[in-house]
């Protein structure tokens, strides 16, 4: 596992109390991961959207930035890889043209040089015979290859931040592993920070240094990979970790899951949003817990749960050495 040390110095990208709401959105179940990612690039703007909170990239405020400011950042400083490679490339443009277009938008490069750069990029992401394939159309590539093209596209202007919104969800596991490996190598090569949006903890374990767990539009826990996986503080995180199907354990009757459904965004519960599904709920939970460090001597590991660290340590251990969350009604362990 590649866990590089947490970088020090001024943070490249900071997000604070970001909240996005859409006037017409009702009853949609989501944690807000993708919307948050899109909002950082100004891609969720619409007449119905309301934004609260701030996000800064190298000192530039992103949420209220003008379209022109954002355009300079998009693609050049912050690039994005989308979930579905099958539909995210223009079907009637050659892939080379789509990459060259982005390069020339941000850099004054003559056609031939931009094309050479595109070929290099395609080689870098592992497309064989890139020099010939550059003149192919997206439909002439498989899903995994298209996602590689998307990555090449995203990397074409050497961005400092790469936002990947569930980049492997639409791919089968073998391809998924290849893509993740490639992304990790490219991160180490180019030094770009990757913001990975995913619901797949396996993917997270593979690539992340720091993790923010989101539930119903809020970050409920934030820490390093090790902290989240080995010392999780929020019951939702316990539930997530408890519902991983494990190949090294006897097969359970039913796949473990957190009972209940995420709340509809139109009527989220007062206080802690996870309260209705949490077996450890108590009177204080009707107040929103702030996202703050609750562990002694670790200011970086923050969470939104009113339980004390001692209570958490005890409650999360559903079986010796195993983290999980019992069902609220039945009390049956999810792990």
């Amino acid at each position: 596992m590649s866990v590089s040390p947490v970088p020090t110095g001024d943070p490249l990208l900071t997000v604070e109390d970001l909240r996005v709401s859409f006037a017409t959105e009702e009853g949609v179940v989501q944690a807000g991961k993708s919307v948050t990612a899109m909002t950082l690039m100004g891609l969720s703007r619409s007449p119905n959207a309301r934004f609260e909170g701030t996000a800064h990239y190298k000192g530039t405020e992103l949420i209220n930035a003008s379209e022109d400011e954002l355009r300079r950042i998009r693609g050049a400083e912050i690039a994005m890889i989308f979930q579905d490679p099958m539909t995210s490339l223009n079907p009637v443009m050659k892939i080379g043209a789509q990459i060259v277009e982005q390069i020339q938008e941000h850099e004054a490069l003559p056609d031939q040089q931009a094309r050479e750069r595109a070929i290099e990029l395609l080689e870098k992401v592992g497309i064989p015979r890139a020099r010939e394939r550059i003149d192919n159309y997206p439909f002439e590539f498989s899903g995994g290859m298209r996602q590689r093209v998307m990555i090449a596209l995203a990397l074409s202007c050497n961005p400092s931040v790469l936002i990947a919104d569930e980049p492997t969800t639409a791919l089968d596991v073998t391809i998924q592993a290849q893509i993740l490996l490639r992304m990790r190598e490219l991160r180490d090569e180019t030094g770009a920070a990757i913001v990975l949006v995913t619901h797949d903890l396996g993917v997270v374990a593979d690539i992340a240094d720091r993790i923010a767990v989101m539930y119903a539009g809020r970050i409920v826990e934030h820490g390093t990979l090790d902290e989240i996986f080995y010392d999780p503080q929020h019951p939702y995180t316990w539930g997530l970790l408890g519902s991983i199907a494990r190949i090294d354990r006897p097969r359970p009757e039913r796949l473990p899951a957190i009972a209940g459904l995420p709340p509809s965004l139109a009527n989220r519960p007062e206080g802690c949003h996870f309260r209705p599904r949490c077996p450890h709920e108590f009177s204080k939970c009707s107040e929103v817990p702030p996202l703050e460090a609750r562990l002694e001597g670790n200011a970086d590991h923050t969470d939104r749960c009113w339980l004390t660290p001692e209570q958490k340590k005890e409650l999360r251990e559903v079986r010796p050495g195993e983290i999980g969350l019992p069902d609220k009604q039945t009390g049956v362990n999810a792990a």
Partner: protein, 315 residues
């Protein structure tokens, strides 16, 4: 590609054969269809009519008549029953007029419809969009003979801004050619502008929500480039199909009313007059002419489609 063209040629032969058979025999069964009686003039003697019948071969078996008529079509020596003039000469004379009208109008309606449709879509739901929607619906509802007559009367006759009908050959004076055609082009294009801009508007609105448009935005492209390179190109594919087919239809008879109103004496007007006089040879020839253009444009549209959308391969 080779096979595609061969198949299309065969298809064209079949369509034209079917059209010729239908046209020919319809005129055999409609009442008052006997050409000999009409050719013989007012109050003819029976012997005169018989003589004409014999001379023109109207006595022969219908199928033999069809055969001889079609032979004349291919040899180009078909003669009109009414005017006794060679049909081919009339069509050759009318062709540049009809093509001038159709080409100009098609370019005009495509260009204006793209502007209107794109602008409408970008302002969807706002005042400009609603205003253009109403204009488009009015345009669709205006019959060409009415708007054409109004334009001809007010702009041509009353104000004298434009010539009152007629045609000047392009080779003679291109400026005068265009000047004479401005009103006909506009009259013919109005209907199509309304229709096309509506179709384009909805296509653009569909395309704007596609994932690849979001990708284009994430690349940092400007709004204009996104609209033209990513949205418009994909929205245009169905419109181009429509355009080719409509162009074929306009050349093949859709411009009859416009040609008649502005007295352009193109193929359409010739066809309209021939139908009015139940004059079979010109009707047959102009119908075949129309069928030819419609089938031809169909094939061209298919080829253009494959070019616009690389996912489609001709086979």
């Amino acid at each position: 590609m080779g096979r595609f063209i061969v198949r299309r040629l065969l298809q064209m032969v079949f369509v034209m054969f079917a059209v010729s058979v239908l046209t020919f025999f319809i005129f055999q069964v409609i009442p008052n269809g006997d050409p000999a009686e009409r050719m013989a003039g007012k109050q003819p003697r029976e012997a005169q009519i018989q003589a004409i019948r014999r001379e023109w071969g109207f006595d022969d078996n219908k199928f033999v008549q069809y055969y001889t008529t079609m032979k004349k079509v291919f040899n180009g020596d078909l003669i009109s029953y009414t005017t006794q003039l060679p049909v081919m000469d009339e069509i050759v004379k009318g062709l540049p007029r009809t093509l001038s009208l159709a080409f100009g109008a098609a370019i005009l309606w495509m260009f204006v419809a793209i502007c209107f449709g794109l602008y409408s879509a970008m302002r969807a739901g706002k005042f400009a969009d609603r205003f253009l929607t109403i204009i488009a619906l009015i345009g669709i509802s205006l019959p060409v003979f009415w708007i054409g007559a109004l334009m001809s009367y007010y702009l041509g006759y009353r104000l004298g801004w434009f010539p009152n009908g007629g045609y000047v050959e392009f080779t003679k004076d291109p400026v005068d050619w265009a000047y004479h055609l401005i009103l006909p082009w506009t009259a013919l294009a109005i209907l199509f502008i309304g229709f096309y801009s509506r179709v384009l508007r909805s296509n653009v609105l569909d395309t704007i929500n596609e994932d690849y448009v979001r990708t284009a935005r994430a690349k940092g492209l400007g709004e204009r480039q996104i609209m033209i390179r990513h949205v418009l190109r994909n929205s245009m594919i169905p419109i181009v199909t429509l355009w080719g087919l409509d162009f074929g239809a306009v050349v093949g008879g859709g411009a009859i009313l416009t040609e008649t109103v502005f007295d352009l004496q193109g193929v359409g007007q010739y066809a309209a007059e021939a139908v009015g006089q139940l004059d079979v040879p010109p009707v047959l020839a102009t119908t075949l002419f129309a069928a030819f253009f419609i089938v031809l444009l169909n094939a061209i549209v298919d080829i253009a489609y494959a070019y616009l959308d690389p996912r489609i391969r001709l086979q």
